[in-house]
């Protein structure tokens, strides 16, 4: 459990985080979203006691992080820009961190195994690829078998296989009752990994909501359904808040229902679905809509370019 109370941070004249309050609960993956410069990394550094808040406070399991006697067992962290000395091997890096709280060498081998770095463990970190660095960061976070994980853009630089791996890893960790907070810029990624969302922009809280709710509220958020029995499904789905459009005969664009719900309705009626896809581009658009006023660095011809990218994703 991470609790932030009216957290603020100024760097000189610049307000990085302003009056931010939120709670990250155990048992679910919580996504921490915001455009570049929103204050995500700053907030995470404050959670870990690395940066001192200008005002307000943040606690982990009821105590300021620095007051925990066994910090690595309390919170596992992976910070922005690889907090790892490039001259050391991955194994020695983990061994040195582990030694601070007497974590045995066996556990170092274990986390290396978990993140799949066995082959590279004896190589110096300076030669690691971005993805290997991310895996080592995750290994560091898991060292103390902590009840809380704080990960700053863990997906950054991972290949599709790596992204899938980390998504499942984080879900498993949350399912074990841990508190998992991870930051990202990508709403589409978050909608697949996280259950809860904390969205910030320019250091202020914009939304604190479940992913399901966000998806439902997403402007034009729709689900694409393909089935041979499109007409029958269409009647079954009909409801007051539901709208169904159809571009092709076997394809429905459903708004107002989650993909979970649609799948359930179809299954109950014995309708086979060939495709059931939440329209992620619209999620990304909803996110941009939400943070539009809070975007720090705005490109002039932003919208067309990004919309295209969203579709391709």
């Amino acid at each position: 459990m991470i609790e932030a109370h009216a957290l603020s941070k100024r760097y000189g004249e610049r307000a990085a985080v302003t009056d931010l309050s939120f709670t990250v609960r155990p048992g679910v993956v919580t996504g921490f979203l915001g455009p570049n410069g929103a204050g995500k990394s700053t907030t995470m550094r404050m959670i870990l006691g690395l940066d001192a808040p200008t005002s307000g406070s943040v606690t982990v399991n009821g105590k300021a992080y620095a007051r925990h006697r066994a910090p690595l067992h309390e919170v596992g962290a992976m910070l922005e820009a690889r907090a790892i000395h490039t001259g050391r091997t991955a194994y020695n890096h983990l061994l040195a961190l582990a030694a601070t709280t007497g974590i045995p060498q066996r556990r170092v081998d274990e986390v290396i195994e978990i993140v799949g770095l066995r082959e590279a463990a004896r190589k110096r970190v300076g030669g690691f690829s971005l993805g290997m660095g991310q895996r080592l960061g995750i290994a560091s976070a898991l060292l103390g078998d902590p009840a809380t994980l704080v990960l700053d853009e863990p997906v950054n630089g991972l290949d599709p296989e790596g992204i899938l791996w980390i998504r499942n890893l984080l879900k498993d960790l949350a399912a074990q009752g841990r508190t998992v907070l991870l930051s990202s810029h990508l709403m589409s990624e978050m909608s697949l990994t996280a259950e809860h969302l904390i969205v910030i922009g320019r250091g202020r809280l914009i939304a604190d909501t479940s992913v399901a709710e966000f998806v439902r509220g997403a402007a034009g958020g729709s689900v694409r359904v393909r089935t041979e029995e499109a007409d029958r499904l269409r009647t079954l789905l009909a409801g007051p808040d539901v709208s169904v459009a159809s571009a092709e005969r076997s394809v429905l664009e459903v708004s107002g229902l989650t993909s979970d719900r649609i799948g359930r309705i179809a299954a109950d009626a014995g309708i086979a679905l060939a495709e059931l896809t939440p329209q992620l581009a619209s999620l990304e658009e909803a996110f941009m809509e939400l943070t539009r006023d809070a975007v720090e660095f705005q490109a002039p011809a932003r919208e067309p370019a990004l919309a295209k990218e969203g579709q391709a994703a």
Binding site: R45, P71, H73
Partner: protein, 277 residues
């Protein structure tokens, strides 16, 4: 692949007081860090080579030219200092590595992992400073002894060597090790104060080498009083065999030098606690 093999932890029953952070554990961690970086070995090797190699070189040179030395040069000759001359160069390597002990972590971002693991922070500084001082003391003392014995071996061919039992000689030989130890300590403290490799190294060199030269420019009525208190001048009193005018006595001088190091370390500790990582 994605399963956690250790016992599950629930947030309602957070980790039992397993591994707490202790000074001894932080010391162990810093020891692992220190011995797993190649720069540690190379820099210490460079210091040793400077210390032993230069001493041997000067002694060889002196022994081979002894016959042609005039009486004045012979009177000035000091076998102990000639064999230990290399400490002047070795201090640069040791100062640089001291700075790197800290700034290497800032440059790579490692410091954030370190301070997240040890959020009380100060144990990290004590461990780094203590460990490095201990390692430098061992290396520099052994190096000084070897340089001295090797040098005297070379000089003895002309019967101009001296021995550890001669008055003041043991103090100078072991004093060189102590002086270099404080240089290392000063390096760590300055590294922690400046947090930037280039700036830290420049500051150490400036303090040890440039400041004394600058102060030479003072009128001698001032210089005579002030210069002996400058860090390196004070520290080098211990590595001087015969007491000269306007220098501190050996142990007073060394104590002053040590105090510089400790004050810098105290300042570093204060800032480490207060500054954002």
């Amino acid at each position: 692949m994605s399963t956690i093999t250790a016992e599950p932890v629930t947030s309602t029953a957070p980790a039992a007081p397993r591994g707490q952070v202790t000074q001894a554990r932080v010391l162990r961690s810093e020891w692992i860090k220190m011995r797993t970086l190649r720069s540690t070995f190379w820099t210490l090797a460079a210091a040793l080579i400077a210390l032993i190699g230069l001493g041997a070189l000067f002694c060889t040179f002196t022994a081979s030219r002894w016959a042609s030395f005039n009486p004045h040069e012979r009177a000035d000759f000091e076998p102990t200092l000639t064999s230990l001359r290399g400490y002047f160069l070795a201090q640069l390597a040791i100062g640089v590595l001291g700075v790197l002990m800290i700034t290497g972590e800032y440059a790579t971002g490692m410091i954030r992992a370190t301070l997240a693991a040890v959020p009380t922070r100060l144990p990290v500084l004590w461990a780094k400073a203590g460990l490095y001082a201990a390692v430098v003391w061992v290396v520099a003392t052994v190096g000084s002894l070897i340089a001295f014995l090797l040098g005297q071996g070379i000089l003895s061919s002309k019967h101009i060597g001296t021995s550890l039992s001669a008055p003041g000689v043991a103090r100078v030989v072991f004093g060189a090790g102590l002086y270099l130890t404080v240089v290392g300590l000063l390096g760590v403290a300055i590294g922690a104060l400046i947090r930037n490799t280039a700036g830290g190294i420049a500051t150490v060199f400036g303090l040890l080498l440039v400041v004394p030269v600058l102060f030479e420019a003072l009128p001698s009525s001032w210089a005579n009083h002030v210069n002996q208190w400058l860090p390196s001048n004070a520290g080098q009193s211990l590595v001087t065999l015969h007491h000269q005018a306007h220098t501190l006595s050996p142990w007073t001088g060394f104590t002053v030098f040590l105090l510089y190091g400790l004050v810098a370390l105290a300042g570093a500790a204060y800032l480490l606690k207060r500054r954002d990582a």
